[in-house]
Amino acid sequence: MSGQVPLLSVRDLHVTYAAAERPVPAVRGVDIELEVGETLGLAGESGCGKSSLAGALLRLLPGGTEVTGEVLLDGEDVLTMKPGRLRAVRWTDLAIVFQGALHTLNPVQRVGDQIGEAIRLHSKGTSHAKVRERVGELLELVGLPARRARDYPHQLSGGQRQRVLIGLALACEPRLLIADEPTTALDVMVQAQVLRLLEDLQERFGLATIFITHDLSTLASVCRRLAVMYAGRIVEQGPSHDVFAAPTHPYTRALAGAFPVIGDQAFRMAPAGLPGDPPDPRHLPEGCPFHPRCPAAVETCSSVPVELWPAGPGRAAACIHAPGSPVPA
Amino acid sequence: MSALAEAPSARRIAWLRRRRAVAGAWRDYRRHLPGMVGLVILVLVVAMALAAPLLADEAGLKAINSTGNPTWASPSEFGPLGTDGLGRDVMTQFIWGSRISLLVGLAATILAMVIGSVVGITAGFFGGAVSAVLMRVTEWFLVIPFLPLAIVLAAILGPSVKNIILVIGITSWPSTTRLIQAQVLTLRERDYVDRSRALGASNWHLMSRHILPNVSPLILANTTLTVPIVILSEATLSFLGLGDPSNASWGKMLDDAFESGAVTLEAWWYFVPPGLGILLVVLAFTLVGQALEEILDPRLRDKHG
């Protein structure tokens, strides 16, 4: 879109976990481009590889995991960085809001110290008072009183902890934020609060954000672009409203159908779902990995490999039914 | 097999299930190198203990039958392991001593496990006043230092194999109780207990079908981890002169060696083998126990897997 190097460019990313019997491929060739200030929603069900993708971006996956491809941050490949450079990039360029804030914060350190640690780490020599002041600012930014810096994680509610994590992510003013299931496990009302906060901050600071969740409907309302993952690959992407309103891929369609529109008689007394279960990444079916569950599957689906084919303006889908599919359905 | 085919199907399913579970556990176990090492040591020692009458003449344990032997003969001078100060063959003592050490180790552990499990499951499952009382008592027994209590009890009851088993058994249960009670407390809160209750299950049904099967791996692993402690306790008590004088265990051998001056005589052949025997058995049980713990306790599975 712009002539410049994109902020983030992921090319042919593969993540493979080491396991006793055979390696588990979690991400199998993902390409993502993200411009400054852009928001991308990444949707998919458990085990589709979305969190592995997030971990790979900052090389946070456990030792022994094989990561190939390129993760270019401002044109620089994160995957080949020297450890020192990598540590410098972490949090200043790219910060993460993890899911499950109860376990992500160190339970025996005050939340203020945990925020302060990030600040001190990336701007050495910041005075104590300065750090404290900045921590206070950050907490107020996310809607918490500054005095909460002295609290321990367990003294905060789930929503407050998630706010702390968001504040922590902003500590070093990153340009790219990855929010990995930021609202899962929160109560409905609190989910809404946190989502609104994230939207506000993203707009205010022009943060590029990758939003990862299993809840397609949430993404549709928060992100401009949307990518749906299935079995380690992106199966559909495009402007979120278009994708949500008129899915091309049958999986996206089924996923969208799982979140009923209240008031829409089409969903009344008619729960929609897919038969079968998400595939085991170790034993993926031949051809299109979705075909065993696909209501629109045809015979060729079990043999022809699929990839992202054009499916309208700014859209692509990995289905032989996609308009741009070279394979006859 | 044919008898099984005629059995009611539910039982057949249960049997299939158990066979598969055991086979699966064994498959996992075989892959566990330290566990296998421990198991092999254990099998060898147990075989030695069981085959003692074939390996060495029991009469050789008696000094009056050893008057023809030299005293304090080193292994190069007599037999595989030399003789002690009374001319008795050390090898014979070592072989027969393994019986007492293992017997005490296993019997006392079983006693401790039975007490510990019953108290632990009862306290964990019922909660309330029952639990409060039982756990208080358990805590009391936990703070009474084990060795002095065992010593005093052994001194009161007098030295015999039976009493040593009793003493170690009744002083070793509280830690098991605490472990099991904690586990039962979490099991009690599991949804499947609620589900079973919602299906109409009685307390007895819940305890026997859900709680016990789910703590039994813990009990098994804990058993194998308690045996080494018990064997060490027996050795210590014997070393302090509280062992059965007429049935020599390895600990008693060490006591004899120490008392008869093997250390100054540098008669290493008298005190190295029993100590090594204890070391190996304890190590073997610990290894087996840790392996079982890893394989049977789902919480630990992914940690080491």
Binding site: E45, S157, G158, Q160, D187, V188, M189, V190, A192, R196, H214, D215, L216, S217, T218, A220, S221, Y251, A254, L255, G257, A258, F259, P260, V261, I262, G263, F267, R268, M269, A270, P271, A272, G273, L274, P275, D277, P278 | S9, A10, I13, R17, R20, A21, R190, D191, Y192, D194, R195, S196, R197, A198, L199, G200, A201, S202, H205, R209, P213, N214
Partner: protein
């Protein structure tokens, strides 16, 4: 709809459940009256901590209430051993986390047969189990007999639990968040199964959920619960299309699909049942009070002091 005549399937009256705690007594269920009929699905919705799960457990007799009573088909629930067991033949339960609700050491067969054995049901156990499994959509049932829970998927586990409940032929099924731990693509299938069961057996299902979309998907009626009380109740379409209680409205507004509705995000987290406010229990978070609308209507004082009794439990509605 119901073949039971006017005899209600489930009647809950004046139910109160309290839990003593370190920071005071939690009034988890604080006076609930509620009825449902055979052959209908009722959704009980609310935030976490509103007491909906406690209510469900009390209906099952898993929780002894402080006051009030539960009647199934007119039979008052008693807490003797035998009475509870009998009660649990007519009322069954489905759990939020199917993984936790299955004993990992039992095969699927044993899990389904457990109720049959407890109640010593007549007939060939194997046939009963097989039928239960296939009714729950696990076909062919024999393939599942010797499987362990960890060998099947989450959706299948939930089906096993449903099968285990249904083999007892209950007249009431209490489903506590039956799909919230399942992947989105699987939820629909489980909900469809529940709908099918209601149609086939005239069973009544009480679905406890925080998900209004689920209610829209399957429920005949909706009851909204807030801090231990039901605050609004009625037919699903009526409640979800034109909610009258401000709390229901707020809940509805934060469902992301409804773009046309202005979001009313309530401040604060799930309310604390150990400190139930005086007056209308919702008033500290009520948008009407906050926006001054209540003052305009001249009811603010009543909101603070007077506990609304009739449904919908809001002073502004009358």
């Amino acid at each position: 709809m119901s073949a039971e005549g006017n005899g209600a399937l489930l009647e809950v009256s004046g139910l109160k459940v309290e839990f003593p705690g370190r920071h005071g007594t939690a009034r988890a269920v604080d006076g609930v009256d509620f009825t449902m009929k055979s052959g209908e699905i009722v959704a009980l919705v609310g935030e976490s901590g509103c007491g909906k799960t406690t209510l469900a457990r009390s209906i099952m007799g898993l929780q002894r209430p402080l006051a009030g009573e539960v009647r199934v088909r007119g039979e008052t629930l008693r807490y003797g051993r035998r009475a509870l067991r009998d009660h649990r033949r007519s009322a069954q339960m489905i759990f939020q986390d199917p993984t936790g609700a299955l004993n990992a050491r039992q095969t699927i067969y044993e899990a389904v047969a457990e109720g049959v054995r407890i109640h010593r049901l007549p007939g060939n156990e194997e046939e009963v189990v097989a039928e239960g499994l296939s009714r729950a959509g696990l076909r062919p049932p024999e393939r599942f007999f010797t499987r362990y829970p960890y060998e099947i998927s989450g959706g299948q586990r939930q089906r096993v639990i449903i099968a285990g409940a249904m083999v007892l032929n209950p007249s009431l099924l209490v489903a506590d968040e039956p799909v919230s731990s399942l992947d989105a693509s699987i939820r629909g299938e489980i909900l469809a199964l529940m709908l099918k069961l209601v149609r086939e057996t005239q069973i009544g299902i009480l679905v406890v959920t925080h998900d209004l979309g689920l209610a829209w998907n399957v429920a005949d009626r909706v009851a909204v619960m807030y801090l231990g009380r039901i605050v609004e109740e009625g037919p699903t379409e009526e409640i979800l299309s034109s909610p009258r209680h401000p709390y229901t409205r707020a809940l509805l507004s934060v469902v992301p699909e409804i773009a046309q509705m202005e979001q009313q995000i309530l401040s604060g987290e799930a309310p604390d049942p150990t400190r139930i406010p005086s007056g209308c229990r919702f008033h500290p978070r009520c948008p009407l009070v906050e926006s001054g609308k209540a003052a305009e209507l001249g009811i603010e004082e009543r909101c603070r002091t007077e506990d609304p009794v009739e449904l919908p439990a809001c002073h502004a509605v009358r």
